[in-house]
């Protein structure tokens, strides 16, 4: 039971912050894809910069182990491209669609309906995907620092520097 309550509490805080950052809007998501309004990128990259330092610190003190998703070549590339195509027309991602309805944008319900349909279709196609796209090449659960043989802290420092430069550019371009 505590597990479910914890999930609910975390979700409430997440939804609250997504709404305060105004990233739940169709226009913000499509605005980023049209390179006109980078609000969602600023939001997401800020979360990543902070979270990255915390998670690697927790790993360094032995509190957690990281959990990489497998780098399945066909799955991540074909699936990722399909997601991008659908995302640009739907204007929401799975997490934001639920919050969008809550702030009155009830048309996001159509997006949720479409996603439930997509999940059901995928469940039917899964055995076929296992034999085809997912069978091409799997590099396994791998982190970038291990893959290139560099300390994670060097990668994190470079990631911070690159992202801050990107933020400065966004502000200069007023996007």
């Amino acid at each position: 039971m505590s597990e479910l309550l914890l999930g609910l509490l975390t979700g409430v805080l997440f939804g609250f912050l997504l709404q305060k950052g105004r990233v739940l809007r169709f226009d913000k998501q499509v605005g980023a894809m049209r390179l006109m309004d980078m609000t969602i990128i600023k939001f997401m990259m800020s979360a990543i910069l902070v979270g990255m330092v915390g998670l690697y610190t927790l790993r360094a003190i032995g509190y957690i182990e990281l959990s990489h998703k497998p780098m399945n070549l066909g799955g991540v590339i074909i699936g990722g491209l399909l997601f991008g195509v659908g995302w640009s027309i739907m204007g929401y991602c799975p997490g934001t669609s639920v919050g969008a309805i809550a702030e009155g944008r009830w048309h996001a319900g159509f997006a949720i309906l479409g996603m439930l349909l997509g999940a059901a279709i995928y469940a039917e196609c899964y055995p076929f995907m296992l034999k085809t796209v997912l069978a091409w090449k799997d590099f396994g659960k791998v982190g970038l620092p291990e893959a290139i043989g560099v300390s994670p802290w060097i990668v994190i420092a470079l990631f911070w520097a690159g992202t801050i430069a990107l933020f400065r550019w966004f502000e200069r371009m007023k996007i």
Partner: protein, 181 residues
């Protein structure tokens, strides 16, 4: 940099950084209080919700399906997390006056007009393609984008590049000429 914007919105840098803190706190709490460390994610819940919906008409079919068996049709931590997103967004928008009933998103309206039917068609088709892709990639912008890149996962970095690359390419043609709100 302004912390708060004119309409009561928080700076995306500030709100985003707080999500980073939340992600760390959530990892600490789930490691301490549940059977395993949980990272933020959302799209698996759509598989489980679809499974619940299908169970009402064809329970045997769901039981026999390999993907539903793999992902387990159950209410879990992430399911409640997704319900929480709804509650948190409602709480925030109702208390700062940004809640607004909207039939069609402004950018969509500028490009395709105010027809709800047309918007519904686009959203359903786009949603179906996007979720099919997210399941094939094994994650969405939360699981791959936020949680994956925070861990510097190769799969997360590649997935986000694909999400955004394809999104930018298609959006360029689909919304050509529409004003941005």
């Amino acid at each position: 940099m302004k912390w708060k914007l004119e309409d009561g919105a928080w700076s995306p840098y500030v709100a985003g950084a707080l999500v980073g803190v939340l992600a760390i706190a959530s990892v600490v709490a789930t490691t301490a209080l549940t059977d395993r460390t949980k990272f933020l994610g959302a799209s698996t819940t759509f598989v489980r919700a679809a499974g619940f919906a299908e169970q009402t008409v064809a329970p045997d079919h769901v039981a026999d399906n390999a993907y539903f068996t793999k992902e387990k049709v159950k209410v879990d931590w992430q399911f409640l997390f997704v319900i929480g997103i709804f509650l948190g967004a409602a709480l925030s928008s109702l208390t700062d006056g940004s809640f607004k009933l909207e039939k069609v998103p402004p950018t969509w309206k500028a490009r395709f007009g105010g027809s709800v039917g047309k918007r519904a068609l686009g959203a359903i088709a786009g949603g179906a393609v996007a979720m099919f892709g997210a399941r094939l990639a094994d994650g969405c912008p939360s699981g791959h984008g936020l949680s994956g890149i925070m861990q510097l996962s190769v799969s997360g970095l590649v997935a986000l590049a694909m999400f955004f690359g394809a999104g930018v390419f298609v959006a360029h043609f689909v919304y050509k000429g529409a004003s941005h709100e």
